[in-house]
Every structure is written in structure tokens, then in C-alpha cells.
């Protein structure tokens, strides 16, 4: 059924953003050229990914092995594009372009320093993100995972002040510390145990005689080691990383970084353990409950936050656990929902972050309690915010509805009523922390006129939207979330390819 | 504390070493592995040396032949070790004073002119009649003897190291008897450092020559064509001699350099 096609496309897709780095450095004085390079690289990346899409949709895989063929017991660097990787790559590369445009608006609007460095590391982190998406074995995955951790550190700490220092430290201690302490030994243990790290074919550990304790230890090592997935109690880096400029938070902490975390955990479940082994050992429930607890707790914490970005951060933690819980349920529909949720949540959450940033650029406000009445000044932004919030909460007709539907369906299928309730409670809580914001913005009166910053560009009288380059992307992604409800077929097909290629017939 | 630690360490070391003694071959055993090889195996290299040295090199003194030919690669680096010592002592100890340079150069000039001169600042030269005279007699003899040892390394005990030390001693003798300045007049500092390098260069250069005859490094047999000798054996013999000359040059100069620097704390003035 599956053919693997040898092609260099995945490599080019990864490298296209890396290749932009020297150009960005070269044009560091000409800001226009520099930004044009960023956007062109994004377009190039997207077109490479799109070029691979039809091949994947036909049920094929694309493979590229560098440095050896793995026949001599060593681990080569392998790129393999399958459905799961494609979903993630598609999301990341589509969203990079609006983020680039947005960051131009944002960075210029705030006259940030060191913009060249910002664009350079942004490009590098996209390189690493696609590398993770296309990684064909665990070693490759890990390599790109670490590149991502490091290349985002300068972005998180962009402001270079005491707060950024704290945030950056927490970021690294969590991400680097856990990956060195847990993932490396777990990865090599898997290698010793099974002799391979390759994701192709059946799951790596499927044939090994893991005991319950070993299996549990490995699963926990991976789940917490890939701490970009922000499972509690290793979640605290995510809120503290919100010191980053908003485009960084938007792309990296709603899309790339955290999704890399859950992506890795999905890989762990599907390709390292395999659903059968996890179910057989009975360790899936442990992961389920960790995720479920994270889910509810994070939503509750989000309720108490006043800083808009921190609230979004905790919301992200909760939504990530949706994905992890979905895959850990080990039912077909839950897995489908979980993969779809990668895409849906990405579009929704990036919209929300864009809005937060746009509000900050236009008015300098960060706290939810300050947003009273702003909806009338910034209707586009807040409309987009409402759409994004609805999508993340899971209301129709937004994309998030579909994925959450499948997730709940999967939970029911697995007869896990408690987990089903966790989903529902969390969905209610999502609504509870998002809609007060929308309510405040549109229906509460504005406190005083003169407290508003005057540096946002004025489009229509009375409107004080953020710069056009900020508003356009958020409108685009908001519309994207709606469109995903009506046209989810690409992602749906890809997700079912994952499940039927990797799960149904293992 | 330190002594206690040292005692413990030394006792442990000694115990380990003595523990193995019982397995050792008897003292003077002609059939111990080093002397004749492992029983049942091939003969040890020393037997090969004893039997074939004369055939291969026409050098009766096996030690010389092994030193400079069979294991000449070792000896090359041994010479380099000596050079290193000379250079290192210079680098560590030598006090270079730029202001004084002209002045000291002047005094060297003066020293050069004098015959076992009494140019030292202490001016005690006239009390050294006995020493000076003895020195005048002994130094040429010592140098001659040094050259003899070098040249006679083939048929009798001797060779570049031994001869070089004797030659070096002759210069030290001059320094002791007539002052360092006098000795430096005969072997100036830049000269002896250069000669030390030249010695190693001669050694390695002779070895390198065989590369041009498409033979391996230090294969003196390749030089037979160049030296117009009858066979490779004599070429080896000559090669060994050339190498010994290089060794002697380095050893002589470095011995003197060590003395000169150490006896004057690197100032090369005054002296003992």
C-alpha cells in the first residue's frame, strides 16, 4: 500500500529557512530586503511542503537517508515524510508566513532592537521545526528538538532584561535539563533494546519484552523528557517564556515549540511503543491521567490570570494536554481528533496571540482588566479574538469544534467516562476564561479616553487598530480557523493516513 | 600529611612491583624472554641483533648499530629531547636585557680576543695559573678524546652521546678555569643554539636522504650509491657515523648551554 519515494524535498523544505540566515545577515542594514528574504523563505518552504502534499495524500512516504544506510548498526540521519509529519509541517509552514508579516508590523511598531538577530533565530527555529516534523528516526528527531530549544532561547530572551533572564533560565532548565536527563538515556535504552531507532514500519518496541516497570519508566521519561509538551509538573517554562515578543509567543509557543513537544509524544506513542504495546502493558492510563490532570488544572489556573499572555499560556498548556490525552486514549477517533487538534489549535491559538500582540502594539496594554471597551476601537482584532477563542474552546463553526468532537467521541469509545468528563469540564472552563475577555472588550464601557497610547495607526476615525501588517495576519488566521471547519479534508485525510498506515495495520 | 600520603603511595607501589617478582626470570638467565625470546616463539630481537648486526652494517659494536640504525628513529627523538632541554632551559631561564645587549656583545668581543683571558670582572685570573695551565693541557686532550669516542663508536664502546658529553665537558672546563666569558668567546650563544639545531638537522637529514632513493626513512642502505661504497652494509656503517656526528654536535652544545645558563642564572655573565 505504501511506497516510499526517495526525494530530497524534505531536506530542501528544512533548509530553505536555514539558507535565509546568511542572506538575512547580509542585508542587516537594509531592513526591507531583510524582511523580504524572510517572507520569501517562508514561501519557498511552504511550496516545498505543498509539493510533497499530493505524494503523501496518495498514501506514499518520502524518505531520505543521509550518512549511511543504517545497515551497520549505526543510526543514520533519516528524513521521512508521513501523514503525521505532513500535518505538522503544513501547519508550521503555513503559519510562518503570516507570522513573518506580523512580526514585521510588530517589531517595527515597537521599534525593537536587534531585529536581525530576531529574524535569524526565527528562521533557524523554523528549520528545526520542520526537521522534527520530517524526522525519520528518534535520533534525528532529538537532534532537531534540541536545535529548536537552543535557537528559541535568544528569541525568548529578546528583551535582555532581568525578566527575560529569569524566563530564559526557566525555559532552558526545563527544556534542556529534561531532554538531557530523560530523553537521551531513554532513547539509547530503546536503541539497545531493539537495535533500531527508525520510525518506519512497525513501532520500535513492538517486539521487545518490556516489563511493566521498564515500559512505564520509558514512557514517563519520554513524556516528561519532551517537556515542550508542557505536561504538569514540568509546565512552568511556558508561562515564563511569555516574556518573549508576541510574534515569538505566537508562532513558537502556540505552534512550533509546544507542538513539537506533543508531536514528539505522539511519535512516542505511535511509533516507539505502538498502541498495542501501550495498551497491552496498561501504561496508557498513566499518561491519560497525567494529561487529564494537566488539562483541568491548567484551565483552572488560566481562569485566575489577569495578564493576557499568561492566560493564553495556561490555555496552551491545557490544549496540549488535549492532544496528549487524545493520543493516549489509544482509540482511533481520539487519535484522529488529537492529530486534527494540532492544526485546529494552532490556527486558533496563533490568532489569539496575534490579537494580544496587536493590542499591545496599539495600546500598550497587557492585562485583561484593562481591555474594557477596547473592542469598539479595535473591532477587527477583537472579532478575530472571538473567533480564535471560539475555535480553541471548540464551538462550531470553528475548526476546534471538529477536533474536540473526535476527542470526546474517542473518549466515549474507550469507555473512559472520567476522562470524557475531563474533556467537557475543560471545554467549559475554556469558555469561562475566554469569553469574559470578549465581553469586556465589546460590552463594558471604556474607562478614559486619554489613557490610550496614540502611536497606533488610525484607519477609520474612532478606530485605533494596530498597524496593517499586524492586523492582516490575524484576520487571515481567524478566517483560516473558520475555513478549517468547512474544509478540514486535507488534515482529515492526512490524519487517517497516519492511523491506517501506522495504527490500524501495525 | 604529605609524608604520610607519600609513604602509603610508595609502599603500595613497591608492593605491587614486588608482587610480580616471583614470576620473573632468574638474574642472568640467558634464556629469559628478553634475551632469547619466548619459548616456542620466534627468537627475540636481541638475538637477531647479535647475529645480524655485523652482517647488516659491518659495525662490531651492536649497541651502536641498534642505537643508530635499527632503532635509529628512537635515537632521533632522543636527540630531539636533548635539543628540547637546551631550548627549554634557554626559554625558562635566560634573562634578556635589551639595554645591556650592546655592552655584553662588546665584552664578548673582548673575550674572543683573549687567550684564556682574564677578562672576568673579578680579575682573579692571575691566581689561576695552575688551573689555567692544567686546563690548557687538558682541554685539547679532552676534545681529542671526545672525537675519538665519537669516531670509535663502531668497534668499541662509544658513540655520539658519550663523545658529545666529553666534548661538552671540555668547554665547561674552559668556563670553570678561565671564566664563562672565555668559554662563550669560543662558543657563542647564538652559535651553540644553532649548532644544537644543526645536529638534529644532520641526523634527520641523513635519514631523509634515503627517501629520495625511494627507500624508507633512516634506511642508510639507500646511500650506497651516493657514498660510492661497495655495498649497503658499508653505507649503513657510514650512515651511522654521520648520524653520530649529528648527535655529538647537539649533545656537546646542549651540555654547554645547560651549564652556561644554570651556572649564571641565565645571565651568562660572571659565573661561578
Amino acid at each position: 500500500m505504501e511506497n516510499s519515494i526517495h526525494s530530497y524535498l524534505p531536506l530542501w523544505a528544512c533548509l530553505s529557512s536555514l539558507a535565509a540566515v546568511p542572506l538575512i545577515l547580509l542585508f542587516r542594514r537594509e531592513t526591507f530586503l531583510r524582511e523580504a528574504v524572510t517572507i520569501l523563505a517562508g514561501i519557498a518552504k511552504l511550496s516545498f511542503v505543498l509539493a510533497m502534499l499530493p505524494i503523501i495524500l496518495q498514501g506514499n512516504m518520502i524518505e531520505l537517508t543521509l550518512f549511511g544506510d543504517g545497515s551497520d548498526g549505526l543510526v543514520p540521519i533519516v528524513f521521512r515524510v508521513d501523514g503525521l509529519g505532513m500535518v505538522f509541517a503544513l501547519v508550521a509552514s503555513i503559519l510562518w508566513i503570516p507570522t513573518s508579516i506580523y512580526s514585521i508590523g510588530y517589531m517595527r511598531g515597537l521599534k525593537e532592537h536587534s531585529q536581525t538577530r530576531f529574524y535569524v533565530f526565527f528562521a533557524v527555529s523554523l528549520f528545526a521545526t520542520l526537521g522534527v516534523a520530517f524526522a525519520g528516526n528518534l535520533l534525528t528527531l532529538y537532534v532537531f528538538y534540541e536545535i529548536l530549544s537552543l535557537s528559541t532561547w535568544p528569541l525568548v530572551t529578546h528583551h535582555q532584561d532581568a525578566e527575560a533572564r529569569r524566563g530564559g533560565r526557566s525555559y532552558l532548565v526545563h527544556l534542556l535539563g529534561t531532554s538531557i536527563a530523560f530523553v537521551i538515556p531513554a532513547m539509547i535504552y530503546v536503541w539497545v533494546k531493539s537495535g533500531t531507532l527508525d520510525f518506519g514500519g512497525q513501532a520500535i518496541l513492538a517486539d521487545t519484552d518490556l516489563s511493566y516497570v521498564q515500559g512505564l519508566a520509558l514512557l514517563l521519561a519520554f513524556a516528561f523528557g519532551f517537556s515542550k509538551g508542557a505536561l504538569m509538573p514540568l509546565h512552568s517554562w511556558l508561562p515564563s517564556a511569555m516574556v518573549a515578543p508576541t510574534p515569538v509567543s505566537a508562532l513558537l509557543h502556540a505552534v512550533a515549540v509546544v507542538k513539537v513537544g506533543v508531536f514528539c509524544i505522539i511519535r512516542t506513542v505511535l511509533n516507539i511503543f505502538g498502541m498495542d504495546l501501550l495498551g497491552g502493558l496498561g501504561i496508557d492510563l498513566v499518561l491519560c491521567w497525567i494529561a487529564a490532570i494537566t488539562l483541568v488544572t491548567a484551565s483552572l489556573i488560566a481562569l485566575t490570570q489577569d495578564n493576557l499572555k499568561r492566560m493564553l499560556a495556561f490555555s496552551t498548556i491545557g490544549q496540549l494536554s488535549y492532544i496528549i490525552l487524545g493520543i493516549a486514549l489509544l482509540t482511533e477517533h481520539a487519535a484522529l481528533g488529537s492529530i486534527l487538534h494540532i492544526a485546529m489549535h494552532a490556527f486558533g491559538k496563533i490568532t489569539l496571540f496575534f490579537c494580544a500582540g496587536a493590542i499591545f502594539v496599539a495600546t500598550g496594554k497587557k492585562q485583561i482588566s484593562e481591555l474594557n471597551g477596547l473592542g469598539r476601537r479595535m473591532p477587527i482584532t477583537f472579532a478575530a479574538f472571538a473567533i480564535g477563542a471560539a475555535s480553541v474552546t471548540g464551538l462550531p463553526p470553528m475548526g476546534g469544534f471538529l477536533s474536540k468532537l473526535y476527542l470526546v467521541w474517542g473518549a466515549a469509545e474507550a469507555h473512559q467516562i472520567a476522562l470524557l468528563c475531563a474533556f467537557l469540564i475543560s471545554a467549559v472552563l475554556n469558555g469561562a476564561y475566554f469569553f469574559p475577555v470578549v465581553y469586556r472588550a465589546f460590552f463594558l464601557p471604556e474607562p478614559e479616553m486619554d489613557a490610550i497610547h496614540a502611536d497606533g495607526s488610525c484607519c477609520v476615525s474612532g478606530w485605533r487598530e494596530a498597524p496593517l501588517l499586524c492586523v492582516l495576519p490575524l484576520a487571515f488566521t481567524a478566517i483560516g480557523s473558520i475555513l478549517l471547519f468547512f474544509f478540514p479534508s486535507t488534515f482529515y485525510d492526512l490524519a487517517s493516513i497516519v492511523l491506517h498506515g501506522g495504527v490500524a495495520n501495525p | 600529611m604529605q609524608k604520610l600520603f607519600a609513604t602509603i603511595a610508595v609502599i603500595i607501589t613497591g608492593a605491587i612491583l614486588l608482587n610480580a617478582v616471583e614470576d620473573f626470570p632468574r638474574f642472568g638467565d640467558p634464556h629469559s624472554p628478553p634475551n632469547s625470546g619466548v619459548s616456542g616463539g620466534s627468537v627475540s630481537s636481541s638475538v637477531h641483533y647479535l647475529q645480524n648486526t655485523y652482517l647488516d652494517t659491518r659495525v662490531p659494536n651492536v649497541v651502536t648499530a641498534v642505537l643508530a640504525d635499527y632503532r635509529g628513529y628512537d635515537t632521533l627523538f632522543e636527540t630531539a629531547v636533548i635539543l628540547t632541554a637546551g631550548i627549554a632551559v634557554f626559554a625558562i631561564l635566560r634573562v634578556v636585557r635589551r639595554e645591556d645587549e650592546e655592552e655584553s656583545a662588546g665584552s664578548e668581543e673582548k673575550a674572543c680576543s683573549g687567550e684564556f683571558s682574564t677578562s672576568d670582572s673579578d680579575g682573579e685570573g692571575r691566581h689561576r695559573v695552575v688551573v689555567g695551565t692544567t686546563c690548557r693541557v687538558v682541554v685539547p686532550l679532552a676534545q681529542l678524546f671526545g672525537f675519538y669516542i665519537i669516531a670509535h663508536g663502531h668497534p668499541s664502546p662509544g658513540g655520539g652521546f658519550q663523545g658529545g658529553v666529553v666534548l661538552g665537558t671540555s668547554f665547561i672546563l674552559i668556563a670553570l678555569a678561565a671564566g664563562l666569558g672565555s668559554a662563550l668567546g669560543r662558543l657563542r650563544e647564538d652559535m651553540y643554539l644553532r649548532l644544537a639545531c644543526l645536529g638534529v638537522f644532520i641526523y634527520a637529514g641523513i635519514g631523509l636522504l634515503s627517501l629520495f632513493f625511494r627507500r624508507n626513512f633512516l634506511d642508510y642502505g639507500a646511500l650506497s650509491g651516493l657514498l660510492q661504497t661497495g655495498g649497503e652494509e658499508m653505507a649503513r656503517s657510514h650512515g651511522i657515523f654521520g648520524v653520530e656526528l649529528g648527535v655529538a654536535m647537539t649533545v656537546t652544545t646542549v651540555m654547554f648551554a645547560l651549564f652556561a645558563n644554570l651556572s649564571t642564572r641565565g645571565e651568562l655573565k660572571g659565573g661561578l
Binding site: 550518512f67 549511511g68 549505526l74 543514520p76 535520533l139 537532534v143 534540541e146 537552543l150 535568544p154 530572551t157 532584561d161 533572564r165 533560565r169 532552558l172 534542556l176 535539563g177 538531557i180 538515556p185 535504552y189 539497545v192 | 605491587i16 612491583l17 610480580a20 620473573f24 629469559s32 624472554p33 628478553p34 619466548v38 616456542g40 616463539g41 620466534s42 627475540s44 630481537s45 632503532r71 628513529y73 628512537d74 627523538f77 632522543e78 629531547v81 635539543l83 628540547t84 631550548i87 627549554a88 634557554f90 626559554a91 625558562i92 634578556v96 635589551r98 647564538d190 644553532r194 639545531c197 644543526l198 638534529v200 638537522f201 634527520a204 627517501l211 625511494r214 624508507n216 626513512f217 642508510y220
Partner: protein
Amino acid sequence: MSEHLPVIVVLAPLFGAVIVGFFGSRDRRLCFPIALTALALSFICSIGVVHHVATVGAWDYFVGGWESPHGVGIQLRADGVNSLLLLAIAVVALLALVYSIRQDGEKDAEKSPFFYVLFLLLCVGLFGITITGDAFNVYVLIEITALTSYGLVAMGSSRRSRVAAFQYLVIGTVGASFYLIGVGYLYLAVGSLNMADIRAILAANPEIANSRIVGTALVFILLGVWTKMSLFPLHGWLPNAYSYCPSGSANLMAPLVTKVSVYVMIRILFSVFGLGVITENPGWSELVVLIAVGSIVAGSVMALTQREIKKMLCCLIVAEVGYMVGGTWLGDAGRWGLTGSMYHILADAMMTSCLFLAAGVFAKQFGATRLEHLSGLFRRSPWVAGAFTLGGLAMIGVPPMCGFFSKFYLIRGAIESGHWLYIVALLGSSLVNAILFFRIFEIAYFGEVPESSEPFEPSEGEGATPRRYAVWRTAPLLIAAALTLLLGIFNRPVIDLIRGTVVENTGIVSMEE
């Protein structure tokens, strides 16, 4: 001439040293070009050797043409392990040489020709140790390396450098003498000095191989090389010696001298005693791994307490040595630990070189010797800071830097052989490295640029034009950083070559296991 490459690698710096010594004192401007030519020749030849080994196989060269019978002459042997090390030595030495280009007005300019002579002789020693196939020849070359090191350390500007050099001398001589005792015992037991010959005799005569003489020989050879490589608890000399020597020579010694000693240990185990000694004496290898763990822990803890950049790096060397010794003695059946150790020799040479070059640049360009002085470095000199960052990341073991891949194989070996403590130490030390380096990165990245942000003017009259030489110092640093990255990305060919040699040789070993 191409059939003589193995010996030319060693001879080029020797001739270079001699020629510098001869002409250098007359015209000091000649020293640098001559030294550069010599090392470049070595570099080219070592590429040739690597190419030959990779395409044809192990390369034996018999000095003096004494090929038969075995063990009469001195044999040079290049295989998958040491040919790469030759290349690494050549690269690191070239970088250190370019870095150490002397300035005309420096205060000890009269000695600068002799600095180059010692530098080149040190390279001779390192190349020679690496390529030789004779147990006694190793001793002679160890002594060349040691004597030149003492001289180079003592050339430091601080009073402390002399004391450090003296301590180094005493300990180094004791270490080398232990090695000599070990070789003597070995000679007493088998009557040969040629490594391949000894190996054959030991393999053919198990009763000799199991005798107490050979056991004692192994113990003393190991004690000797451990002293030389500063394995805990024999590490006392290293931090002082390398932190107080002039940075030009520290760049050469710190990356290479300990690494070459580790190589000697591997070579002795591999080609003389056979890897059987590790697997047949599990108790002893357990002990050695424990010592290695101790070294890792001690090195990391000491590094945490240091506020001086160079001293901190020196302490890290102790920990890195622990990695390699432990990896060698893991004794796993697949020889992954050994593979990892061998790769780590190369990787560590590159990254230590990068870090020491960076420390040198910090000191010369910014006058920064302590961590606090690096404040605002990323703003003052992004390139230098970036290169240092790459080196630090490699030390932490972050992919795709080379430090990661060695740990990858080391841990595999440790898991297969069940040395969990070693894994904990290895990962713990990675985390400590992460703390250490990110502490520096934070200072450098967040810290304010100091008031006197002008290029640092060397105080001791080191010349009025430091700018002119800045590029000579930064270029090697950047190259070293790039190589650290490239060695990581293209680790496969390297690992393949090492693996080929290991597998080939373990085939011989496995017969007696």
C-alpha cells in the same frame, strides 16, 4: 614521496623546529612562516594518511626498512583510530599556531623563536606518539611532549606558572617513569617492544598473558598514562599548569596532550594487551569505571566552584578525561563505549581547542579572565561570543554538535554493559556543563557592556597594535567553532572509520574471549 606520508607527518614539524631554531634567531620574521609551512605539510600528509586508511586500510611503515623479522626496527602504524587523531592534532596545532603569532614589540621577543621551536617539537611529540607502533618509542615521544610542555608552561608571564611547571614536571616525570617501568616488565615477559609483536605473543601464550608480570606491566602503564592524562585522583597538576601558561601554548596543550594520553591508553589496551583484559577482569574494569566516574564528578564539581574562565575549562578537561577512560573500560560486547571514547578524543580535541582559543581571545582582546568580565560580550563581539557559544554547546552535548554524538555512543555502551552509575555521572556532568556555560552565556548576553568598551589595550607593553592581530586570533577561533559543528554534523564518516577499525580488531580479540 606519497609512500612516506606517515613519517613525513612527524618529520615536518621536526625539520620546522630545527630550521626555526637555526634561522629564527637571526630574523624573527621567518619563524612564523616556517612553522606554518611545517604544520601545513603535516596537515596535508595527515589528510593523505586518513585517505589511505579510509580507502585501503591500515598502513604500516617500517622506519629504516627493517620490516622483517618483526620487531627489529621501529614500526609506524596508521589505522582508523590514530589517522583521524593525526588530522585532529594537525588542525588544532595549526589553529593554535595562527593564534599565537607573535607581535614585534612583545617583551620577550628574543625568546619567540624558541617558543616556536618548542611549539613544533611538542607537535612532533604528539604526532609521533599517535602514529608509532612501538611501546618504547611512545616513552621517548612522551618525554619530548612533556619537556616541551614544561618549557611552554614556564614561559607564562605569571610567577605561578613556574611553580605550576615544576609541579607538572615532577608528576609528569613520575608518570612517564611508571610507563617506562610498565614497558620494562612487558619486555621482560615477552622480549619484544613492538606492539603488534607483543600482541601476537600474548595471544599465543595465555600463560604469559595471565602472569603477574604482565598484570603489573598493565597496572604501571595505566598509572603512567593516567597521570599524564590527569585522571582523578592524579589530576592535581593540570588546572594550574594549563591556566598559567601563555594562551598560545595552552591552545595547543590543553586540547591535545591529555587526549593523546588517552589515545595511548586505548592503543595499549587495543593493540598490546587486547581488549580481553577488560572483559576478563570485570572486577577491575568496574573499579576503573568507578575511578572514571570519580573523575567526572570531581571535574564537574571543581568547575562549578571556579570563577576564572581558564581554570574552569581545565577542570572540565578532568571530567572529559573521565568520560573517555570510563567509556574505554565499559567492556560492552558491541564496543560502543570504545567507539564513543575514540570519537570523543577527536570531538574533545576540537571543542577544547575552540574554548581555549576563545578564552585566549577574551584575555587578549577584552582583558577578560574571569566570568564577570565577559559582561555584554555578545554586543561587543558577536562573532567571538557565537564561536564560544558553539564550543560551550558542544561541551554540554547538544546536537548537532560533536559532543552529543560521543555521549550517544558512550551511553549506549554503558547501557549495554549495565554501568548505570556512569550514565548518571555522564548526564549529570552534561547538566553541570549546561549550568556552567549558560551562566557564562547569561553574563555575556544580558550583562551591560562595561564602561571601557574600547578594545582592550594589553597592559604589559604587548604591542601598540592589538587590532592588527585581532583577526589572527579570531580567525582560528571561528574555524575551530565551525569544525566543532561540522564534526558533529558529519560524524558518520568518522564513526564509520573508527567502527571499522574496532570491529576488525575485536574480531581478533573475540577469539580468545
